[in-house]
Amino acid sequence: MNWQWFHRLSSPKWFYQISERWLPWVMGVSLVLMAAGIYQGLFNSVPDYQQGESVRIMYLHVPTAFASMMFYMVMAIAAAIGYIWRIKLAHMAAISAAPVGAAMTFLALFTGAFWGKPMWGTWWVWDARLTSELILLFLYLGFISLHQAFEDREVGDRAAGVLAMVGVVNIPIIHFSVEWWNTLHQGATISKFEKPSLDPSMLIALLLMIFAVILFCSAIMMYRMRNEVLSRENNKSWVKEVVLGKQIGKMK
């Protein structure tokens, strides 16, 4: 079997070069999608017959909540790959994904509270999904603080890798037990694709926003990874060339 591509894929230098070409596209597409999604969500979709205009918070709440869970999986899988096969780039990906995911979790909680106020008449309800989201925030914060606590970044990587693997086993259990604890929330809206309970105009806005947020998060994560690569590989000659080259470019 040819492992060449695998080796190349895990090289920080290769990532730095390829991401330089990809980043503008990812960022650009995400901004275009986001603009379209915001327009569709605010001006071109119908208000909910029960919740009225306040339903529009959903176009931010659902994508951020989705991204918060997706990026936890990305982070955990990357950390596990890094731990098992000792790939530095995977650790960098994990540690870059964590703050992005945590920020999305926070946004999901924040918008959830704002949505809750008109709907339930209170900022915070201990319902299953909000509580799961809160616990997810705790897990993110634990991962980030554990990594920060080690002076040696590589040791921090390995410690965080162990924690991420434990967390990934636990997440379904936590999610399930919280569901059992409280099943007051309205049923899932997005997964019913065959018979959508959403108006098509709302569904379009929601899907646009979901893709936009995911791409936006990926772009931020790539920025963070590029920084991480530069700071960790700072004694490699190619990094010096890149940094010095940029400085020369500025002087011209």
């Binding site: 002076e151 040696d152 970044r153 590589e154 960790r232 004694n235």
Partner: protein
Amino acid sequence: MSHVPVSNLQDDLILKVDKLGIRRSERWLFRELSFELFRGDIVQIVGHNGAGKTSLMRSLCGLLTHAEGDFEWTEINDLPCLPLYLGHLAAVKPELTVFENLKYHPIAGQFLGDEPIEDAIDQVRLGNYLDTPTRHLSAGQTRRVGLARLLLADTPCWILDEPFTSLDVEGCKWLEQQIEQFAEKGGCVLLTSHQPVHFEKKPQILEIKRPVEALC
């Protein structure tokens, strides 16, 4: 007292290190380190402070992950041989007595019976302190509790990190003798020491050097 499991070993090679490299905080301590340990060898690792002497020893014991290269211990009964490692820390529990410290801590993969333990304690001149909790002992005496493990270990290799620290002159002489006897019987010893060591046969020297790329 201490014996080496001679019969189980097929050949004289005990440890083979192949292009080992250790990194700490993204800085290479050393790279491409290769050497071999045979029965009867006494090898002293030298290098300036922070060169990675302790890291090398801990890595060979499996306490530290190495970044590149590999090493291989000879196999005894189809299991890789387990060296006896004595590090900077004495690994003696203050609340347990001298006897319990040796009895309830495994040494080279096994727990030992009462008699050999009592003999070993006598040999390190702690016979009167058998049932004293080790927190009442002095630093040198605590050190000797740790050294008693040398007499009990059923292994062909000792890895000793600064074993002469806080030992008196007599203790140092005793330890030097033990190391020489062990080597004569076919064991091998890897050690570091800041104090000059006196063996009849000069120990082999293994120098650890900083890799070139880390200097610039």
